[in-house]
Amino acid sequence: MCLAIPGKIVEISSENQDSALVEVIGVRRRIDLGLLQDDKPAAGDWVLVHVGFAMSKISEQDAADQMNTLRMLGEIDGAMQEVQGYGLEDREIDASRLDYKEPIQ
């Protein structure tokens, strides 16, 4: 039960704080912000829209972090091979446990 689309808030209605105009590449739709009362979005924010309601704010930071993590896939391998080339094979490094945000020791 899951079709939800990211949309950018273009305008929040002046008469009704819970009503906003959201845009998805040029298509505009009026949606209800009532489920985001605790964390009210502003114009310019991105929200996830499902059946005409905003369900959640989209964190651009988290999206960017995710992209970085994905881009680094495979680079860990490259780094591993380089490290092994330095004669550090006796130290067991399990690539699957590495947190990408930390530099490889």
Binding site: M1, L3, I25, G26, V27, R30
Partner: protein, 370 residues
């Protein structure tokens, strides 16, 4: 898969078309294969249900024992001259929408059906079914639109008929146009001639018309700067024929049911596979956005100003270059090719190696929430 001999006896082939005129001796013996107890909206949507109705009820009773591939127009020969003839009804709500109205659709739709069967439309006749209570201003606007569209398309509206029905029995107006045209020399449309390696061409972005209509029905709270793509495709078809005539195997205008339905019909008629490259199918961003929002596939959405063509590989480059250079053809693309597998099916492939089968439309394209 249709046997080639059966294909030759049906519409669109040289020399055999007068067999259409002779009434088969055994009309009454042809079994009706249509099993549904009543007609549903789906039967008019242009997809599987529509095809079942035509193949199962109309074709056996009207066209005789050989079902053959269904094409947009029939070819008849009168005293040595080959003529194409076609008819279409226009039922659209709202009557008027960004980019056009029922009047334009009625003219362009029939001109296009003739164009993709390789014919230049010469004359149309039009029939109106009008609802009592329809404001004259609305009717006049539509008739003006038809006149303009006919002028733009270079076709004559030769005659007409009008009926009026009680209020509530027609959605303001229904229009039917029937057109005749002269076959262009040097082109034969025949699904049986499609071969592995042929290229699939699309004249421009898909989905504009259908999404415009969906948005124009105010039930949906969506606004977008989108217009119907209704236009005569004949100039581009003519360009294509001039550049690649001998290489053209098949053409169709993907109206109801969209490009997916037209290509599925071709795939079934020729028994080969239509493989499309998703990133090469032209779709406007705004149509993509609307389709994502509604859970629709642009390949299933109706178009009123585009056509598909299957062209042999030797002529494909010349074909696409010529169309791209012609007015209104800059967005045309080669969107795929014909392969042996998956037979009788349309397959869409993605850049990263994924693929999916796109079926004929089942019923009306219903927006999806889930």
């Amino acid at each position: 898969m249709r046997r080639l001999s059966q294909l030759r006896t049906s519409q669109g082939s040289n020399g055999d078309s007068d067999r259409l005129m002779a009434a088969p001796a055994t009309f009454s013996d042809v079994p009706v294969r249509f099993r549904d107890s009543q007609i549903e909206m789906a039967h008019g949507a242009g997809g599987k249900a529509s095809r079942k109705l035509v193949e199962g009820l109309f074709a056996p009773l009207l066209f005789g024992t050989f079902p053959g591939p269904l094409s947009d127009a029939a070819h008849v020969e009168i005293n040595g001259t080959k003529i194409a003839i076609t008819t279409d009804s226009f039922v659209v709500k709202p009557l008027s929408f960004p980019g056009g109205s029922i009047g334009e659709l009625a003219v362009n739709g029939t001109v296009n059906d003739l164009a993709v069967s390789g014919a230049k439309a010469e004359a149309l006749v039009v029939s109106f079914v009008l609802e009592a209570g329809l404001p004259t201003s609305v009717l006049e606007a539509e008739v003006r639109a038809m006149a303009k569209a006919a002028r733009d398309a270079g076709v004559r509206i030769a005659a007409g008929d009008t009926k009026v029905v009680e209020h509530g029995k027609a959605d303001q107006m229904y229009v039917t146009t029937t057109g005749i045209g002269r076959l262009l020399p040097g082109v034969t449309i025949n699904p049986g001639s499609v071969r592995v390696g042929d290229r699939i061409l699309l004249s421009g972005p898909v989905g504009d018309h259908g999404v415009t209509i969906l948005l124009a029905r105010s039930e949906l709270d969506l606004e977008a700067d989108l217009r119907s793509d209704t236009r005569s495709v004949f100039p581009l078809v003519e360009t294509l024929v001039k550049a690649a005539g001998p290489g053209i195997r098949w053409m169709r205008d993907p109206t109801r049911g969209g490009a997916a339905t037209s290509l599925n019909e071709l795939a079934r008629d020729c028994g080969l596979g239509m493989v499309l490259f998703e990133d090469q199918v032209p779709v406007r961003d705004i149509v993509r956005g609307a389709c994502e929002l509604l859970g629709l596939d642009p390949l299933h959405i109706a178009n009123e100003g585009q056509f598909l063509a299957v062209v042999s590989p030797e002529y494909a480059d010349a074909a696409i270059n010529a169309i791209n250079l012609a007015p209104g053809g800059s967005e045309a693309q080669v969107i795929g090719e014909v392969r042996e597998q998956p037979a009788g099916t349309v397959l869409v492939t993605t850049l990263y190696g994924g693929s999916r089968i796109v079926d004929m439309l089942v019923g009306d394209p219903l927006p999806r929430i889930c």
